[in-house]
Point group: C2
Chain length 387, copies 2
Amino acid sequence: MSEVVIAGIGQTPVGEHWDISLRDLALEAIQAALKDAGGLRPQSLFVGNMLAPTLSNQAHLGALISDYAGMTGIEAMTLEASGASGGAALRQGYLAVASGMTDVALVVGVEKFTDTIGSDIEEAIATETDSDFEAMQGLTTTAQAAMLMRRYMHEYNVPVNGFANFPLTAHANGEGNPNAMFRKAIKAETYAKAEPVSPPLNMFDVAPNADGAAALILTRRELVQSIGAKPLVKIAGSASSTDTLAMHDRKDMLFFDTAQVSAGKAMKQAGVVLDQIDFFEYHDVFSIYAALQLEAVGFAIKGQGWKLAESGGIGLNAGAKIPCATMGGMKARGFAGGASGVYQAVEAVNQLRGQAGKNQLAGAKFGLIQSLGGPASTAVSHVLSAA
Amino acid sequence: MSEVVIAGIGQTPVGEHWDISLRDLALEAIQAALKDAGGLRPQSLFVGNMLAPTLSNQAHLGALISDYAGMTGIEAMTLEASGASGGAALRQGYLAVASGMTDVALVVGVEKFTDTIGSDIEEAIATETDSDFEAMQGLTTTAQAAMLMRRYMHEYNVPVNGFANFPLTAHANGEGNPNAMFRKAIKAETYAKAEPVSPPLNMFDVAPNADGAAALILTRRELVQSIGAKPLVKIAGSASSTDTLAMHDRKDMLFFDTAQVSAGKAMKQAGVVLDQIDFFEYHDVFSIYAALQLEAVGFAIKGQGWKLAESGGIGLNAGAKIPCATMGGMKARGFAGGASGVYQAVEAVNQLRGQAGKNQLAGAKFGLIQSLGGPASTAVSHVLSAA
């Protein structure tokens, strides 16, 4: 298969965009990506979206968005794998280009949550759980994450506020991201005093549901060299895996198998080991997910993910073991559902291009991004590298 | 890219399966396909589904179905392109195998419409139209098809009952399909006397919304030869295209551009011309769609698709120009949403294997199948051939 590069990126600010429709959000990200790619014209569109049919009364986004973006006639379809929809769209775009089926693919993640009231969003998101055995009992994904966090705290003797450094790091990094929903650092006391959402999760352990769109232009390296769009970032590894949808079917709820498997495969394909990864964009829709991803991927041993965060090991500081959520993550950038996996890629490209502004990591060569559906029922991992 | 073959097929009967859940429908089709494929184990699952998040409160079907089918851990995701979701899933499965990314892919189309009352199904299906400009005005896809048919009748002076032979052919063919929802031929008088649904569409011009699942096992030819699963069918061509989502944005509403473009590309890839196609599985969710597909693909000239049907040119009879809906099509087999495109492939495989029973076409070598989203806002076409 051919070498695939990301030749263009685009994103909208993440937030409550009540005055911008779903299609306009997508268009804004696409136009920015096309401009960034210097004139490449896509033949295929892969849309990552979770809940537009439910929350925006709009299915069939492939035809809608390709037409609205002035690309009527191209191939287009939507990928859905819950919160990992953006990652799934990126993976299919990668595959289309790598296989030679398509010269230039457009990957768009788009989501519009905030036109809907909070409880209805929760109900809609709960369709990502096992509907017949979980959501049917009243389970929401927030409640599910709370139970997971409680169990983790019990098993590993985690003190109250033991997860604080996940949101603290995210919010500190959000300051440097002009597209983040929250661009203000928070203090440890603020976290400690925050209202509970679903104990032990407090307000800062849960990423805000938000609206946004992000876009990528993928092509083969030989095609983009001829038009001079640079610097390029290479998709060095791509992999995806699933686990049981229902938590109660797992042998060990406190280990994210799919995070381990998909990251391992992606790194193997990229020919890198964990020590070579310069930063990790995890799926911190809940703090507990971040801890479990650090452990599954191998940055921390089992039960110690929270300690890695607590000891300052995930920040942008020079001595950090593995900088995470470098542009604010889902906690501070905001959680725009099926767009999230594409935002991760856009942010990683900025790091690898040296265009991450105040949040730039010196000499970053390899980034690992990981998009989850539910509590890692699906995980899609990509290794991006400076090309 | 490698040569991809269909090594196994499975399907459930299509109908009102109030006692079988979505996951059980999928499982039944998968188990049949795995058995048919003689032991091949998939590494990837591509699910075609339109409306499970809305009608069955269940998103994230990739993780759900792979786990329920005993394949926990494999890669899995859902493809959505409205009524063309099944075709889109087949295309992504094809791509995964052709590229070498996956050795064995499982493609499943599944839909469960009839747990929901009719008006709610219509409302849900209307999300495939342009929500802001069409569904918002009260448009349903049935009303949209009625307007399209009225315009066609006006432009081409089609008499009342001019479309009769589409459902008559479908129902006649449904008699020979044990999995069809309707297995009884109808008479011309029955069509002529049928209740209007949305004039000029009558009851027989609209395929029934139904439940069902169909599955395919795809692999590279060299892998399946070693286990002896035969006869094989080859995916000789695969292509997909989109048009405007909203009908009012089209230059010519009475020509299905995407049907032409995707069929043309798939035939070109397969190295065949139209005369070599032995049968055509069209997307006859409405009679008018069937007529417009015959014209767009080239079996009839513009405005004459209905005449091809009226003159007996689409039946199983020896002299027919192009046998269509050979196992009953959507009209008699039933319209199981995102499963439909996969059913088309399963039925085409049966024809090409010589296992189509009473409906077997003598010496069929090439079949064209075409899955539509909305009024050909998306079209996905595949050419299958005896391998």
